[in-house]
Amino acid sequence: MKAFSVIMHAVYALAIAGLILFVALGFIPQNTGEMPLDIKLEAESTYEVSESNGILEYNFSDAVDNHEGPADAYTEAGVKIPGTTIYPDDDASVTAAVTAVKAYAVLHPGVTTVTLKDNDGTVLTQMMIMKESNEITTNMYTEISITNRLRYDLMDIAIGVDQLNDTGTVSYRVAESEPTTIKTGETCSLPVDISINSLNSALIMLTGSGDTMSIYMGFDISGNYLYGLAGASVYATAVFESTTDAPDVDIAATQISITSTEPIEQLPSDLNVTATIGAINVTIVNGPGGFSVEMGDGSVNIVDELQDQYDEGDYTIEIGVSPDTEVIELTQEEYAQMLDLIKQVMEAGGV
């Protein structure tokens, strides 16, 4: 029994010491002279040549202005495309570079992407890369790169971005990353695809208390550490203040009507969308004359109509006024998100 007691004492002491050591080492970086974590929000300036001229011009200009120095476009094989030198705050050089890239891509069908590099060969970066968008949805792309200098892997790191209303009762996820493990000593880039539906975005801003036009965003970050024994989740709510007065909001089951004599600063200043979803007509206008959203004509229950269309597997939105119409096909997830949001808006509006 004496021997058993000695063994048990040793096991117990080892368990205690091991746990303390394991946890303590987890919070001391391998190199104490460096920060345990390094977080950056930026994406390398690589673009699909098939993007529209407008999108490429925006991205070229943004990347070079951000870099504050000239840059050239290179193919994925590292070939410098002639005539693509872009200078900061120089629209003419941006337009010329896009034209040169498009012409080069026609002559070389194998070239699908281009990357901007400066004279030293450094790849330029952007905080947010604009992607092909349509009248309803704006798509953007960025990367959150995290360098893990801690002793253990960071597990299941997931990041999400929500748009909220001012009371936090309506939430719409605009960006999300897949859960990722970041091994110790490594840098991992989490791709973040951002998709903002103008209608959803406008509706959210106008629900809640209705006395502010500010945009509220929620940043959701979670992950596990110490081989999954501990974890953390953070939800930060930020606001982008607007000085615009609150508009008149009228939410009914068959019609949503929002009118303001002032435009919303955070939305495009030339926004003018006419859309049809099933039997529901939608118009969104933002400009010098003010901002307005009209959804439904008062005769059809909006949620029921959208739900019917969803159940039938029809996720299309018709943009424009006949005969100049264009059909946009949303994914099932996008449509479900829009439907869910409209339900939330109705609920928040007391319908």
Partner: protein, 177 residues
């Protein structure tokens, strides 16, 4: 060959000095030190001039420390009883097992669900700019570590029985003197 004793007989024999010392030490670590921490934090928050932003953290820490103290009172009593009886005494094993069992419950009373949620009101930060950080809600989850602590406590229960068995004979000899 010494005669064995029952639990009832064992409960009559103990050391008041060891029991009181353990009780006082537990009282210091469970009540006095946490109270000092709250007092220190109050002073720190006041001297830093950090008002609303720190209030969320301070309130959560204070609530947790109060839970630690209030639910820790039985631990003080059990610490007295555990140390009151010497090695080899059946009552020592009994109260050690009770104390460790309660400690597991205590752990989950202090940190419900193995989580520590903190809410920060940061609306006063960046108040002059167009961008404002309204609030931060942070939840630390250490259920896995708590489960390892539970295993260690279960190990400690087995250890207390081993200590009892290896000291039982010596205890009975001393008792018969």
């Amino acid at each position: 060959m010494t005669e064995d004793t029952t639990l009832k007989q064992d409960m009559r024999h103990g050391s008041w000095g060891k029991g009181i010392l353990a009780g006082v030490l537990s009282f210091l670590s469970i009540v006095v030190v946490p109270l000092a921490i709250i007092w220190f934090l109050q002073g720190l928050v006041a001297s830093m001039g950090a008002g609303d932003e720190m209030e969320g953290i301070f309130n959560t820490v204070t609530e947790t420390v109060w839970r630690f103290m209030i639910y820790g009172i039985p631990v003080i009593v059990l610490a007295f009883l555990t140390s009151f009886y010497v090695k080899g005494n059946k009552a020592k094993v009994l109260f050690t097992v009770i104390a460790l069992s309660y400690s597991i419950v205590w752990l989950f009373l202090v940190f419900p669900g193995g989580a520590f949620p903190v809410s920060l009101d940061t609306s006063e930060l960046f108040s002059d700019s167009e961008f404002g950080l309204e609030s931060i809600d942070l939840t630390l989850n250490f259920l896995g570590i708590m489960l390892i602590l539970v295993i260690i406590m279960l190990l400690r229960m087995v250890l207390s029985y081993a200590v009892y068995k290896s000291n039982r004979e010596k205890y009975l000899e001393k008792l018969s003197e």
